[in-house]
Symmetry: C2
Subunit: 439 residues, 2 copies
């Protein structure tokens, strides 16, 4: 039996101005979910929003409080960020990714969303006619919404059937050969599917990016959160796998939100390769009269025009956390590995009750446990699964909203604590009893 | 005699990648100014950057530190801002402007630059063909740079010859009649000229905005800083003059940067009138699939896609400062009136030595003393004046970079402390001696 009637859900959607919960955005889903909880007093299992639920990193908090006490927040920050943060970022990418980026190329941004927003603009304006973005889907829906705001076109494909160097290379060249792709974007580990591109795949991306002059926008929001390996030892292998090893055409986006549970403070870094930073583009110069150096245009003519720098105290906080990580005094992996524990038992409960993991493998191994995972139930369509699950008090988003062509949902482990184990088990069992004919 | 030779200045410009200091941007001027100071050890009189130099507001600092201590910075903030800030903003506009805006319409932004950036997008996308911005110049150059980033067209005129209701009305209708103006923007008090639009002028702007369906973007960065009157008594006349009294088509931008000396923390509010907030635009709906309600599109489909909300602790800080101001416990006007004292003696020194105030009057009275003022010297052209002044160790920006058609420079009083009185006097006297034939 369902917890919520179709009528109640219809009323919730209406009250929240949501057309169809089956393909609702994350924001819309949260609204409906909260409405149902408030209306009925029944606790929801909230697998919808990818927001940290663990305590904020205290190294950052202390450094922010000190910076505020010193009065550092009164005057405008530098366009690229305070020197302490730019230097710390340069150290951090060396320590954990083993690549060299000068501090000037490590630009502070108001979250990775601002980094991708600014990068989309710079990349698509640098060469006339080369003005589209290619998404390796499934992906983060906000990035497509950003292009909708800007009126920039895009292409996308679901990587599900194109894993491994050979298939991926052929697929990417299909797009790159047309000549209008300015940038390619993906997150690794992947939001929503938690797949990780493997070394041979990153090599293909990097090499083709050079060949076709495409900028790789690599979103490392879940840094060191592929818990199958321990990437979090500074200056020691294994290092984070990256396409940056195979091309100079890259921008890495480093968010503090997940790894330091710092989402509310809105801070990230947009790390531009030294060579890309220094490249000259007449199109940027003629538009901005700024000499057209890519990194300078991105920093001073684009990002600075959007927020005029980032919150000063938060920059001090982020710098302190990055430096402590490089010094081996900020074991952020340990701080967030709880998400993997939660994902593990959640996946067990679901799979015991007829569900399956949709994106279940990388090229050579099974996907790991972490912040997100993908779930399907028999052949049930994505929208139907979202609609049915919410009737049983389990809130999620449809894989179709992430550019996936597979049937299923995205589940986030962040907000599901140990005390909800029984609740999830009961609801999932009941769901399976009621839907067994759809398996 | 000049302090710096032409050769040295040419070298400084080259080192800083600045083509011509005469029409350099603020950022470029700062670079050259710092270069000269570092190279020679001679202190510059820095009238270039409009950055606060007074101590940060401690009410905000304490509230931020407390919010950090409570761990509030871990998860994503609401798209429109934390309820505490939205509520405080709604109170604040009532207390000091005597207008009513619901909390939902008071959206937290990463500085007023993010507010104008998002507003430009929403205003120019709401009605097909109505897609240009009109600037009442002189104005803040960054706002035009934002349109350059976005590829949005604009018109502008220098208000110098169009003061008073009658002339202003005729001039505005010239543009509005064409039908393609989506929004009009100005700051009051004005950056760079410190003129203030008077009631009859604001009435014209408001009434024409309604008649021609143009959105008024009123930048109140220097709130209560027209020190000729005391606007800073909560819930008591005189209230801040505003076009919002005369139209429902408005967005007010309230920055914390200047009035609370909070520029480094990057926080502002984008306050949308209740009626504009609720208006439905099919163009916005078809672009964003969000029902096309103006305020919702601006908040959730545009601003949220750029920064995903603002720094949480800073929102608590801003809320505390606004609430304290409404309670009569945050006398921010007293905190910043020092800028007027500085402007007063700076203007006296300049005027004693052959300079004049370019924008010297509003309709009925002389301009006041505050954060900025405009200076001319005889008929000397703007670029030449900037170039000559920097040779005498006085750094400023050309009025031509602000859309002004008058000869002169913008001077900022913020960074000029009492101990620089003699320095400024000596340099200005020497300048006058050397240039008397140009008067």
């Amino acid at each position: 039996m369902k917890l919520f009637s179709d009528e109640l859900i219809a009323r919730a959607c209406k009250a929240c101005h949501v057309q169809d919960i089956g393909h609702a955005t994350i924001g819309e889903t949260i609204l409906v979910s909260k409405f149902l909880q408030k209306e009925t007093g029944i606790e929801m299992v909230r697998m919808d929003q990818g927001s940290p639920s663990l305590p904020i990193n205290r190294i950052g908090v202390r450094a922010e409080q000190d910076a505020l006490e010193m009065g550092f927040g009164s005057s405008y920050p530098h366009a690229q960020g305070i020197p302490e943060l730019c230097n710390a970022a340069s150290r951090f990418v060396k320590a954990f990714i083993n690549i060299d980026i000068k501090p000037d190329g490590c630009i502070a941004t108001t979250g990775s969303v601002a980094a991708s927003f600014g990068s989309f603009i710079a990349c698509t304006q640098r060469i006339p006619g080369k003005d589209k973005v290619l998404f390796i889907d499934p992906g983060f829906p906000i990035q497509k919404s950003q292009l909708r705001v800007l009126g920039i076109g895009w292409e996308s494909f679901d990587i599900y059937n194109y894993r491994g160097a050979k298939k991926l290379k052929a697929k990417l060249e299909e797009y790159f050969k047309r000549g209008d792709i300015a940038a390619i974007i993906y997150s690794n580990p992947n939001n929503p599917a938690w797949i990780c591109l493997e070394e041979e795949e990153l090599a293909v991306i990097g090499k083709l990016a050079t060949k076709y002059d495409v900028v790789v926008l690599e979103d490392l929001a879940y840094f060191c959160m592929d818990f199958r390996k321990d990437f979090a030892q500074p200056y020691k292998a294994p290092f984070i796998p990256t396409a940056a090893k195979y091309t100079d055409n890259y921008i890495l986006m480093l968010s503090a939100s997940k790894i330091f549970s710092y989402a509310g403070q809105r801070i990230a870094l947009c790390c531009v390769s030294d060579k890309l930073y220094a490249r000259q583009y007449p199109s940027l110069d003629s538009r901005y009269h700024d000499t057209g150096t890519f990194g300078v245009s991105l920093t001073s003519s684009i990002l600075y025009m959007i927020t005029s720098g980032c919150t000063t105290s938060t920059q001090y906080g982020y710098a302190a956390m990055l430096n402590a990580a490089c010094d081996g005094n900020n074991n952020f992996r340990e701080d967030v590995i709880e998400y993997a524990r939660r994902a593990k038992w959640m996946k067990e409960i679901f799979c015991k009750n007829g569900f399956h993991i949709v994106y279940d493998r990388d090229v050579t191994q099974e996907v790991g446990d972490g912040f997100f995972f993908s779930l399907g139930y028999g052949n049930m369509g994505s929208e139907e699964l979202v609609r049915e699950l919410i009737s049983y008090g389990i809130s999620s988003i449809s894989l179709s909203t992430t550019g996936s062509e597979q049937n299923g949902i995205r589940a986030c482990s962040a907000m599901i604590t140990q005390d909800m184990y029984r609740l999830l088990e009961e609801r999932t069992e009941q769901f399976d009893i009621d839907h067994r004919d759809a398996r």
